[in-house]
């Protein structure tokens, strides 16, 4: 395999490859350039050379036809618009606005003409021309048989005397000796015919020519009258009469002049100052325009397509198909008076034919050249592609300029390039070369530039193409838009940018606000687009573009919002995880909107965890300290108690016995203080709490029963109110027992002699609340806060067995079990309350019951 490959690769040495590449670029560039040049000439020629005769071929060419058509149109306009409305002395007496519109039309088509008193004279290097208009003899000759008196009034704006002899007015660029006034029309035409071999003649609405000019060279779309309506038809000479330059009149009092050598142009002319015309106009406009907008129509005279127009450049636009109006009727005017003769000037045809032959020759040469270049280029390209394939197989890595460009983009660029080259070479006329040639008017620098451009195109295509071949044949992994590596790198690079960082720093709220603004803007844009479309009648392009833009913005913002909402639920779960101190292992993308927030929560979580650990550690240390201290206290205390006991058992005199008794009491008290301090320290630290589900009511009853003896001894009355049957809670039974015990002890100890103690358990919302109320036997001179402080007792002077920690312990234990402990003082009324949250299970259970 390897040796084969080596053999193969020997076929493609580097110098050969480089040479082949350069040659391929040049040949391919030449082929493209040649194709463009060929197309350019083809466009000029627009014909094949099947005639054999160069002159005949030229006459058949599109180039010649266009020139001929342009000439013909000018002459038709000259005939029917000028000559038909001139008096016998060749003075234009027709509608001047119509004339100016015609001039405008000529300018628009870049026709060359000379202005004269009567109107204009077409200028042509190529053609000799003659155009005449013979006014009909008498009114009968003008009138259509079906026309009425009313129509007759509009028919001609030119007021001329009815001649008994046909009056012929003519214009020509021929020398005066060729034709003269003395000849009759027929004689002049015969003379002109004899002078030229390639003429076109329109006479009596019949188009004739010499043999070589036949065919479809003059083709028009034109309206014709059918059943009193103008109908657009397409006919070509000689099948039908050629109405170019013809006119019609309709029941709206208009004249319609028909021109346009490819797309027909119609001029509508209202007879000036004619009462009937004005009435007709008004009627028409009133149908179309609201009464309050109706202008003074006396000055409006010309209607070109869909417009009225006055001399102050005022336009009244109306729309609607006038032809479909029920009262519309059209009548064909007479064009038999028009005579048009066109013939190439002497020697012109030969000259142009020669040029044409030159172009044709070039065309053939270029065509051959292009074909050869194409073949060469294809061979070279095949060689290069094979070389690339071998190189791809051979090399581990594929370097080059294109390494960092994703494969997909390379492919797209290649296809775009190929597509562009094909379009350039095609007949469509697009492409940079065409533009270059057009701008530089096909001069040498333009051609060189164009050629270089083509070579560059070829080089780019070849380079990318061979690169792709190397990758495909080598089966090399290449950065692609789909590979995460590149995407990751792109996004990493994006994330490094200041723009992205500033975006990341924004809070979710800010981002959402921004996005909402965009959404509103998009909606507004869409609204404006709708308004533009429906209320102001804009053309569709702009509103549609706006609509698309707004949709794009809308979709982007909404998709982002969907992603954000998904991320927000992640954030919620993160917060929940933080609350429950659980690990959070869901991934959040780097570019997510909530990344910063998640990071912040992570930091908080870490800090909290650290703080909690720190606290637990310090609490442990505290407990250890307390444990050690209490141990150190307990050991000597053990001795003290032991020896006091021994003392008690020995024979003592009364005084000593009394002292021993005191010692005994105090040592017992010391013992209880040490025990309480230790348990308080433990409870405050929150460790050593065994939570289990229990019934607070039962616990209360047990505590009460447990304290039965004490209560009886105290001689005080307890009023117990329990409204609930059971109160399931989570708590540490032993600790809560201590809470009840301490509160009841406290109440028994410090309540007034003979007073009642109220113990009460009731449900408040989702909590079960225990309260103990009693009237203090001593004036309350402390605050609620003070009493739960350690070692504080209501009566500071009193010395009993208590450690003074009872309520502190009650408070600590309640809190350790997740409840709350409160003291309220109102005068001498002392109220302690314990509130524990009920477990939720009971609620549903109760509901079921």
């Amino acid at each position: 395999m390897d040796t084969k490959l080596k053999k193969l690769s020997r076929l493609f040495p580097k110098p050969a490859k480089v040479t082949a590449f350069v040659l391929a670029c040049i040949t391919a560039g030449s082929a493209i350039f040649g194709a463009v040049m060929t197309r350019e000439r083809e466009w000029v020629l627009q014909s094949d050379d099947s005639y054999g005769n160069i002159e005949t071929s030229y006459i058949a060419s599109e180039n010649y036809r266009r020139q001929l058509r342009d000439m013909y149109e000018q002459l038709c306009i000259l005939g029917v618009c000028e000559l038909a409305q001139c008096d016998d002395d060749m003075n234009y007496i027709g509608n001047k606005y119509l004339q100016s519109d015609f001039m405008y039309y000529l300018d628009y088509n870049r026709y060359k003409y000379k202005k004269t008193d009567s109107g204009f004279l077409p200028v042509s290097d190529m053609f000799d021309y003659y155009v005449s208009y013979t006014r009909p003899v008498g009114e009968e000759a003008v009138l259509d048989e079906t026309s009425t008196d009313e129509e007759t009034t509009y028919q001609q704006t030119v007021s001329h005397t009815v001649a008994t002899e046909p009056e012929t007015l003519y214009v020509t660029n021929l020398p005066a000796d060729t034709i003269n006034e003395g000849m009759t029309e027929k004689e002049r035409i015969e003379k002109l015919k004899n002078n030229s071999s390639s003429y076109i003649l329109r006479d009596d609405d019949v188009l004739s020519s010499d043999m070589t000019s036949s065919g479809t060279m003059l083709y028009y779309d034109y309206p014709t009258v059918e059943d009193g309506h103008l109908v657009e038809t397409g006919e070509s000479y000689p099948n039908n009469f050629l109405p170019m330059g013809g006119w019609y009149h309709d029941s709206y009092g208009r004249y319609v002049y028909n021109f346009g050598n490819i797309q027909p142009i119609k001029f509508y002319v209202y007879p000036d100052n004619s009462e009937a015309g004005l009435t007709a106009r008004r009627e028409w406009v009133e149908k179309r325009i609201r009464a309050d907008e109706l202008p003074d129509l006396s000055n409006y005279y010309v209607m070109n397509d869909n417009e009225f127009r006055d001399d102050g450049d005022g336009y009244i636009q109306y729309s609607g198909d006038i032809f479909s109006q029920p009262d519309y009727e059209a009548y064909q005017g007479d064009t038999t008076g028009l005579t048009v003769f066109i013939a190439p000037k002497e020697g012109v045809l030969e000259k142009y034919a020669e040029e044409y032959a030159g172009i044709l020759h070039q065309y053939n040469v270029i065509k051959t050249f292009t074909a050869v270049m194409t073949v060469l280029a294809v061979l070279l390209i095949i060689y290069l592609v094979l070389a690339a394939a071998v190189s791809g197989l051979e090399h581990e890595e594929i370097g080059g300029l294109l390494v960092h460009i994703p494969f997909e983009i390379e492919l797209i660029v290649l296809f775009v390039l190929i597509g562009y080259i094909l379009v350039s070479c095609s007949n469509s006329g697009y492409g940079f070369e065409r533009k270059l040639l057009e701008i530089t008017k096909s001069t040498l620098p333009g051609k060189i530039l164009s050629f270089i451009w083509d070579c560059v195109l070829a080089a780019a295509g070849l380079h990318i193409g061979t690169h792709i071949v190397r990758i495909i044949f080598g089966r090399k992994t290449k950065q692609s838009l789909c590979t995460p590596k590149l995407a990751g790198r792109l996004s990493a690079r994006y994330r490094e940018t200041e723009f992205c960082k500033s975006r990341q720093r924004m809070s979710v709220g800010q981002k959402l606000r921004r996005r909402t603004k965009w959404t509103i803007a998009a909606a507004a844009l869409a609204f404006i687009a709708i308004v533009m479309l429906y209320m102001f009648g804009y053309s569709e392009d702009i509103p549609v573009a706006m609509g698309i833009a707004s949709s794009v913005v809308f979709i982007i913002t909404q998709v982002k919002n969907i992603i954000l909402s998904r991320d927000l639920s992640k954030l919620e779960r993160r917060i929940e995880a933080l609350r429950q101190d659980k690990p959070f292992d869901e991934k959040v993308s780097e570019t997510s909107d909530i990344k910063a927030d998640i990071d912040m929560l992570d930091t908080i979580s870490e800090t909290v965890n650290e703080a909690v650990e720190e606290r637990i550690k310090s609490e442990r240390m505290k407990i250890e300290l307390v444990a050690n201290v209490s141990h150190d206290l307990k050991t000597p205390l053990t001795s003290i108690i032991s020896y006091i006991d021994l003392l008690k058992k020995s024979e003592l005199d009364d005084e000593a016995a009394a002292y021993v008794e005191i010692l005994d009491k105090k040592s017992q008290k010391l013992k209880s203080i040490v025990a309480d301090v230790f348990s308080l320290a433990k409870a405050t630290s929150g460790i050593d709490v065994n939570m289990e589900e229990l019934d607070l009511i039962m616990l209360f009853n047990q505590s009460l029963a447990d304290a039965d003896d004490k209560i009886k001894q105290s001689g005080k009355t307890l009023k117990v109110t329990v409204t609930e049957d059971s109160a399931p809670i989570m708590g540490d039974g032993a600790k809560l027992y201590r809470v009840f015990q301490n509160i009841i002890d406290n109440a028994l100890k410090y309540s007034m002699e003979g007073s009642r103690i109220f113990l009460d358990i009731h449900k408040v919302g989702k909590n079960i609340v225990f309260t103990a109320k009693n009237i203090s036997s001593y004036p309350i001179d402390f605050t609620a806060d003070e009493i739960t402080e350690r070692f504080v007792r209501g009566d500071k002077s009193r010395t009993d067995g208590g450690s003074g920690l009872g309520l502190s312990i009650a408070k600590s234990f309640t809190e350790a079990c997740g409840g709350s402990f409160d003291i309220e003082l109102d005068g001498d009324m002392f109220k302690a309350s314990v509130s524990m949250p009920l477990t939720e299970k009971t609620d549903t259970e109760k509901e079921i019951i």
Binding site: H631, K634, L637, I641, D688, D695, M698, G731
Partner: protein, 240 residues
């Protein structure tokens, strides 16, 4: 109350405490051997005929728990731990190491002597325990309930109980380890519907405790499970 003659080994690094306990026990009629650390204790144990050991946990050279483990390798005599450590975990540790009882410092001298007496009695009557193997006798630790004779003995010493107390105890002992709520107990013992019976049951429980426990405030057998109910602790026969 008959007094058993016995030699007790008292081990504590605090000589004053040892002296005090020795005096206390001698007053009760026991003979006492003193030791001041674990190794000392092991030596004294080998030298003397010892029936019971009172031992502290925290001591130099060898601590109490290690000493207990060493003793338990050879001897079966009752061991009572005497420690300033009052945590439940400490107690459990001590008992699982092989101690029979656990007294926290500062101890009540009365309680100390009571526990010593109780442990000794059980130890001395070891032979008898084996022989009483009737089916209607329930034994839990030092508690022994003869159902047919309606007789309860604590560490071999008969205790007088009322009929109700006996029924409650029987219920709890038969289901040792199980927690009964006041209602349960009332329904089963009184055979009546239970309503607001917490107090009634609790009073009986307290009375029972006063009779069977050395320290009713820190009961070994009959325990209140606060907010849930009552139970007799399931105690393995430690002396076997």
């Amino acid at each position: 109350m008959e007094q058993l003659a016995a030699t007790i080994l008292v081990v504590d690094d605090d000589r004053d405490i040892v002296a005090a306990i020795a005096k206390l026990l001698e007053l009760e009629g026991y003979s006492v051997v003193k030791a001041y650390d674990g190794i000392d204790a092991l030596e004294k144990l080998a030298e003397n005929d010892i029936q019971l050991i009172l031992i502290d946990v925290m001591m130099p050279r060898m601590d109490g728990l290690s000493a207990i483990m060493k003793i338990r390798d050879k001897r079966n005599i009752p061991i009572i731990v005497l420690s300033a450590k009052s945590e439940d975990t400490d107690k459990i540790l001590g008992l699982s190491m092989g101690a029979d009882d656990y007294i926290t410092k500062p101890y009540n001298p009365m309680e100390l002597t009571a526990r010593v007496r109780s442990s000794l009695r059980r130890y001395m009557q070891l032979g008898d325990i084996g022989s009483i193997n009737k089916t209607d006798v329930i034994k839990i630790g030092g508690l022994e309930l003869d159902k047919s004779a309606k007789q309860l003995t604590v560490d071999g010493e008969p205790v007088r109980l009322t009929a109700t107390e006996l029924k409650i105890l029987e219920l709890l002992m038969e289901n040792a380890g199980r927690v009964f709520s006041a209602e349960d107990i009332y329904r089963r013992v009184w055979n009546e519907d239970a309503y607001a019976v917490e107090n009634t049951v609790m009073v009986h429980i307290r009375h029972i405790r006063e009779k069977i426990e050395i320290d009713p405030k820190e009961p070994r057998y009959l325990k209140v499970v606060w907010g849930i109910g009552y139970k007799i602790e399931k105690i393995k026969q430690t002396i076997s």
